[in-house]
């Protein structure tokens, strides 16, 4: 069973797989350009001292996003994919 959630709710240290980015607008396009595309693995590295933003690792680089953006990224846990 895979569990679907949004990227902002993934606990620190966990690794997830992107399912889709919500909304077909400019922000969704930008997140796509930043590499948040279906099937891409994202790891939650650490949160800022005040809780937001958060650093993620994907495609071999580190990206900070605020909750308002990471909340649009739907992800699934990686343990259910049989890989």
């Amino acid at each position: 069973m895979t569990q679907t959630t949004t990227l902002d709710r993934v606990p620190r240290g966990a690794s997830v797989r992107v399912v889709a980015v919500d909304g077909g607008d400019a922000i969704a396009r930008r997140l796509d350009d930043l590499g948040l595309r279906a099937g891409v693995t994202v790891e939650v590295l650490r949160r800022a001292p005040l809780g937001d933003p958060t650093v993620f690792e994907l495609h071999g680089y580190q990206l900070c996003l605020r909750q308002s953006e990471s909340g649009r990224v739907r992800v699934e846990s990686r343990n259910g994919d049989g890989a």
Partner: protein, 634 residues
């Protein structure tokens, strides 16, 4: 492929890539110090172009603004597309494209590379950071990548100059570049699939996490240690700009003064000698005096940037700045503005979002700069009683603190307002890369500092020089002979009252009377447009007071201000007027150098005019209100 005939060695190249891909480092490595830096019309996006010597002829290299994709999501990003389509007047249209990609995050950038292949122009791909890729154990098969894309691929280490010869050779004849047999899909989702399949073929081993970066970040981004380090770095940064520049500035001040003396001694007495000594030499001095702060600021700023700390600092403070609609990097610019708004506004160059950058530029003059301190010191020491309020905390200190806090609060409030009204964002997402830590390269670092200092001298320096010459004319002409029985101080006061500035002071008196200001303060306001602290010297001249101790507001000037009476016998500097004058200086943009640097950084007179206007209105209204409130209380 493109039907354009490409002249070998004289091609216009466009450098395309994401913000952290090493594009600018590559640009500098290829062109040396020959970049022409400017702005694209209407936006605060920097425009960099340079001649490129390829041995056989002169080509042009355009450093396009960093972007993650070719579909713009804001007016500022649309610049890239406009340049590519040749829609910007005076900007040459790139005939061939160099797409720069960070080798470590190649899989992210492949769709962007695909997008650029669809532009129908010769394309070559430059993979940067090959050293980091190797250090992280990553392996990319370059020949296979070249075959998969169908265009030439060159690997470089830009800051070490490796791979540049091969790239130069490639650039010398773009007509020979291979073109893809089949173009990538134009549909975004299909192109993602195309990119994923290429990534699978060419990336033999994805790079592991950079071990050293991970170890450093465990401390630097730790909730407690990271916050303490942030505070330490920022305090040190501010302290160095604020105080380390002091001796150099004093030295320049002394040298300019000495030079003026020499000119006076050499030239026959008269207005020619005055022009050279007080106009020209002092004018040049008013430009050069900024150099120590600017050089120190950019040395530190680029050091923090090149090492990789700037993005981390922005990450730590982002939540706070996010509240007012700005982002972490604005913090550094606003902090620098506590020393001086000129370097502070120049520091906004590190803010990636042009909207955030513009708003930060517009509110930076509200931060209490060091030039306000002599004005505050004079007025507070003359008129605020030295009374203990709470233990060791005195009333004078509290008033000074209030002025500092008032300025900062106004800056944050206005920034939040402007973000909502002036540049209502279509919700540009905040997305920032945290680069891998790396040792700075002396050459790259020195180039950046040199370019910034030179840009200041060339672009803002001329405006500052002209403005200080103009103010000298206003304060000097028409030349009126004082009655022979007057002493030197009284004669200077007599001449100043009859100068254009003196007449202006009289002329604006009705307008400033509601604030409690008379014509003498009016002259002070006119002359302090050159720099705020000039108010003290001007008042000293008008009141014919000794200027020996003007920095601290000499005792004789304080006495003269206190004893000046209106025709009805009440003091000119009564509490409402002093309060109004202090508040006026919290807000008003009394600084031609700041106006000049805003012009230089936004490349238009619109924004400096707007900043001057809104700050003047704010100053006038706040001053008026202060005058009324204190008047009612007293």
């Amino acid at each position: 492929m493109s039907a354009t005939a490409l002249d070998p060695g004289a091609t216009v190249f466009g450098l395309l890539g994401s913000p952290n891909a090493g594009k600018t480092t590559l640009f500098n490595a290829l062109t040396g110090l020959r970049a022409r830096v400017g702005n694209y019309p209407g936006v605060t996006v920097e425009r960099r172009e340079a001649r490129l010597d390829l041995g056989g002829g002169e080509a042009t290299l355009i450093d396009l603004p960093g972007t993650y994709g070719l579909e713009p999501i804001s007016a500022d990003e649309a610049v890239v597309g406009d340049v590519l389509e040749g829609r910007i007047e005076g900007a040459p249209q790139p005939e061939a494209l160099i797409v720069v990609a960070d080798a470590c995050s190649l899989s992210r950038t492949l769709p962007f590379i695909g997008e650029s292949l669809l532009l129908g122009r010769p394309v070559c791909v430059v993979l940067t950071m090959l050293d980091e890729l190797a250090a992280r154990g990553g392996v990319i098969d370059l020949p296979r990548l070249e075959a998969a894309l169908g265009v030439p691929v060159v690997g470089v280490v830009g800051h070490r100059g490796r791979g540049l010869d091969a790239l130069r050779h490639l650039l010398s004849d773009p007509a020979e570049w291979s073109a893809p047999a089949v173009l990538p899909p134009s549909d975004r989702a299909e192109r993602a699939g195309w990119a994923a399949s290429i990534a699978e073929t060419v990336i033999d081993q994805a790079p592991a996490r950079h071990a050293l970066t991970e170890r450093i970040d465990r401390i630097v981004l730790h909730p407690l240690w990271g916050s303490l380090l942030f505070a330490f770095v920022m305090i040190t940064f501010f302290q160095l700009i604020f105080s380390a520049a002091g001796p150099a500035m004093d030295w320049i001040d002394g040298a300019i003064g000495g030079l003026g003396e020499v000119a006076r001694a050499t030239l026959p007495a008269g207005w020619m000698a005055d022009l050279v000594a007080d106009g020209l030499i002092a004018g040049v001095g008013s430009v050069v005096i900024f150099l120590p702060q600017i050089v120190i600021l950019f040395s530190l700023l680029y050091l923090l940037e090149d090492v990789g700390y700037m993005a981390r600092a922005a990450f730590v403070i982002d939540r706070v700045m996010g509240r007012i609609g700005l982002e972490g990097r604005s913090f550094v610019a606003l902090l620098s503005s506590y020393a001086c708004a000129v370097p502070g506004i120049m520091a906004t160059r590190t803010i990636p979002s042009p909207r955030d950058r513009l708003v930060t530029i517009l509110v930076a003059p509200l931060m209490t700069c060091s030039a306000r301190l002599p004005v505050y010191a004079l007025l507070i020491s003359a008129f605020v009683p030295e009374r203990a309020v709470l233990g060791p905390i005195g009333l004078q200190g509290l008033v000074l603190l209030g002025l500092y806090v008032g300025g900062a609060a106004a800056a944050l409030g206005v920034a939040a307002l402007f973000k909502k009204t002036l540049v209502p964002g279509d919700g540009l997402p905040f997305a920032m890369e945290l680069p891998t830590y790396r040792w700075p390269t002396l050459r790259v670092w020195a180039t950046q500092v040199y370019e910034s200092a030179w840009a200041f001298l060339r672009r803002a320096g001329t405006i500052i020089l002209l403005a200080s010459l103009l103010l000298w004319v206003l304060l000097t002409f028409p030349r009126v002979e004082a009655p022979p029985d007057m002493d030197a101080q009284a004669a200077a006061s007599y001449a100043l009252e009859r100068s254009i500035a003196g007449r202006l002071g009289h002329a604006i008196e009705p307008a400033i009377a509601p604030l409690g200001f008379d014509w003498k303060i009016g002259v002070g306001l006119v002359s302090s447009l050159a720099a705020r602290e000039i108010l003290v010297a001007t008042l000293a001249q008008i009141y014919a007071a000794e200027q020996s101790d003007e920095e601290a507001g000499g005792a004789s000037l304080r006495e003269a201000l206190r004893s000046d009476l209106r025709p009805d016998g009440t003091p000119v500097f009564d509490p409402p007027t002093v309060g109004a004058l202090l508040v006026f200086f919290v807000f008003a943009l009394q600084c031609t150098s700041t106006i000049a640097i805003i012009k230089r950084e936004t490349n238009s007179w619109r924004w400096p005019a707007f900043a001057f206007g809104y700050l003047f209105v704010l100053a006038y209204v706040a001053s008026f209100a202060t005058h009324r409130v204190i008047g009612a209380l007293a």
